[in-house]
Amino acid sequence: MSDYGLLVKNNSEEIQIDSTYRNLSLDESDTDTISNNNTDAGYYASIDIADSVLVPLILFQPNTDYFSMVSAYIKSGSNFASFNMATECDGSSSPSGPQTTSVNWRSYRQNRAASGDSYGLLVYNAAGELCFDSGKSYFKVYSVTNVSLSAPAKATFPSTDITHAGISNPFYILTPVSYYLNMYPLDATFTNMDAKMVGLKKLSSTSVRVGWSLFRRDRIQAQLTHNEGLNPAMKLIICDI
């Protein structure tokens, strides 16, 4: 433990500020439309964030129409420059007409720049890096819920509903990224290859669905049945902004 700076705990004796590790504060936020046309290049949307070597942490609010998920963080040179979000495809053809939804997102980082406020509290670590700035916005961890779903199968999309009665319209982190492939004969000639991920869909201001959804469907001329992928135990972090 550093002997420099300020150590602050909450009334449960949990550390809030430690003058060593930098708190994650709001860096930027927006609302974006993401679409999926069931192609390799078009099943996800790339959303730009400010270029920085500081790693982002992306929180989002899904919509009520389709599942959505954060699928990758993308760098440009040494900087984190964008993140990708995917939503469901309709799977009727490839390409298909794009299926769209909108999401609210917030990017948190170690303080990239001071707020400039001349009022309040600034806490630095021994390296002179800004740990806490009262002019910044910090999200609070409302709860961490472990989620385990059954693996998906042909036309089967396991899900579970999470209720958070004590908080309305929170933002979420769902981790890790999952992936599953279900291959099954469509007819005597073709096989469908259904690629699925776990995402979030808003049910109400106080509940959300965590579930598998289809994000890519290819069709090959073969007769195959095969199911494999990653179906990890997941965490849903409900965040009070």
């Binding site: 909450n10 500020i17 390799d40 790693v55 948190y108 961890v141 990653l230």
Partner: protein, 98 residues
């Protein structure tokens, strides 16, 4: 109102930090190659609650992040692959919230 802790306001008198808040601190990140599996020990996270995960640094159907497991103060990551999916270059990320 608790008589313990620190309450902080911004210039508009909004509460930036309250005495019951669980706010987050960035603790660790590492970019790992697709085929890399390894671990690290973070002795100072002993007794603290964290969220640790990996996320792909590249986008492609079937490109999957590493698995990440915390056991005590040791963080272990492993590449994951199968017949129709393989491991992506990934970011390992850990933040603390207590």
């Amino acid at each position: 109102m608790s008589d313990y802790g620190l309450k902080v306001f911004d210039a508009s008198e909004n509460t930036t930090l309250d005495t019951t808040d669980k706010i987050t601190r960035f603790r660790y990140s590492k970019e790992v190659a697709a085929d890399a599996s390894s671990n690290t020990t973070l002795a100072d996270i002993d007794g603290l609650s964290s969220v640790e995960f990996s996320i792909p640094l590249e986008e492609a159907t079937g490109k999957c992040p590493h698995s990440v497991v915390r056991s005590g103060t040791t963080i272990t990551w492993a590449a994951q692959s199968g017949t129709y999916y393989d491991s992506a270059n990934s970011l390992i990320f850990l933040f603390l919230y207590t």
